[in-house]
Symmetry: C2
Subunit: 225 residues, 2 copies
């Protein structure tokens, strides 16, 4: 990229962490970057004023901004994004190739777990091919560790070492809790009870706004806020 | 199980395919089984009248019912549920053990992909330990295929064989389409635009119900339906 940047321009690599499996302008919406992270990986020497300007751009879109080295970026995203995508693509491929389970059975019975993987495995093929080819070293490093850990689990299952399974399955819950606490999962399933309650509150709010009931209570609430 | 069933009782193994990562009575809601599948695996010899009674029970809860052999069930669920859970647990464990990426970075930057895996990896540890120990043969069979396929992908990345990656990434989209068409993914992300539209429609519906506007239009609509 470097040689193609004209002398008067500053090139600062970076990207947001946001989006869905859909691509193109139609997949966008106004709150897409709200509260999400944008990562900048300034090349040295980078002009701090230029970095500040780009930071301001992302913050204007509602994002939080972090900077890190290109190398660290590649390792972080190999684990939080690239390898997870690769194994999602892989398991959906393994499922499609089974002789004794039909594709229609896989589709019909796809429960939580596989279903989430199929969503990930429906991501843009061109973009993901290029990601794996461009972040090869970090992806192979994380993939090596993943397979090593998986082999240990496989062995634990074969030898019925339930304690080892239980220990891992308990440990992984802590990371999930951290993600929910930091509000990075906007897609968390809301319980039907919670949804029904939200619905009632919303209906009550609209009813109050339309027919003017409960105005004093609303004013009091506004004062408190 | 068999020896513990009293002579006057009929034992028909089975389970629904529904639920979230939450357990216990509080995790339930009235529509939990609506349009989902319940699988029965009658042991031979099974009394058809008993199976029909149990089928009626599940249908009464809104579920669709299928029957299959225990062996086929175990293979189907190893691919659509058990192995996906195992690899989700595994990648979250691999992430937690990295030396050069902190747990707080993993949590902060957890993008689509990893975030979904953490949700799955927060499932009940005791239940999942027992599932892996009880469905060992089918899980090991599917896991063997998964690792074989993953090794081929790893090799394609190492040797920059972009075509092989692209071919798989394209093929996996078909399965996703099938799942969406069959309505098995209730958790599909609704775009913000779609959400805003639903919200407006709901508000309009409530407003009409409360203050009685647009009654003729509503009656006409009801007649058409």
């Amino acid at each position: 990229m470097g040689p193609h940047v004209p002398a008067h321009a500053a090139f600062i690599p970076g990207h947001p962490i946001a989006g869905t499996e859909d691509s193109g302008p139609d997949a966008g919406f106004a709150e897409l970057f709200d509260g999400r992270w944008a990562i900048l990986t300034p090349l040295s020497p980078a002009d701090e004023a230029d970095v500040a300007k780009l930071r301001g751009f992302w913050e204007g879109m509602g994002a939080n901004v972090d900077t890190m080295s290109v190398e660290h970026h590649d390792l972080v995203f190999a684990i939080v994004s690239h390898v997870p995508h690769l194994i999602a693509y892989n398991i959906v491929g393994t499922a499609a190739d089974l002789e004794d389970v039909t594709q229609s059975e896989v589709i019909k019975y796809s429960a939580s777990g596989f279903r989430d993987f199929t969503r990930i495995a429906a991501s843009d093929p061109t973009m993901w091919r290029d990601i794996f080819l461009n972040n090869r070293d970090a992806v192979l490093e994380i993939l090596g560790r993943f397979v090593e850990d998986l082999t240990a689990l496989q062995r634990a299952i074969r030898w019925a070492e339930g304690d080892k399974l239980f220990e891992l399955f308990t440990r992984t819950r802590a990371i999930r809790r951290g993600i929910i606490e930091q509000g990075q999962d906007t897609r968390r399933r809301i319980s039907a009870a919670g949804r029904a309650r939200d619905e009632r509150l919303r209906a009550a709010r609209i009813a109050r706004a339309v027919i003017g009931v409960d105005q004093p209570a609303m004013r009091a609430q506004r004062k408190r806020a």
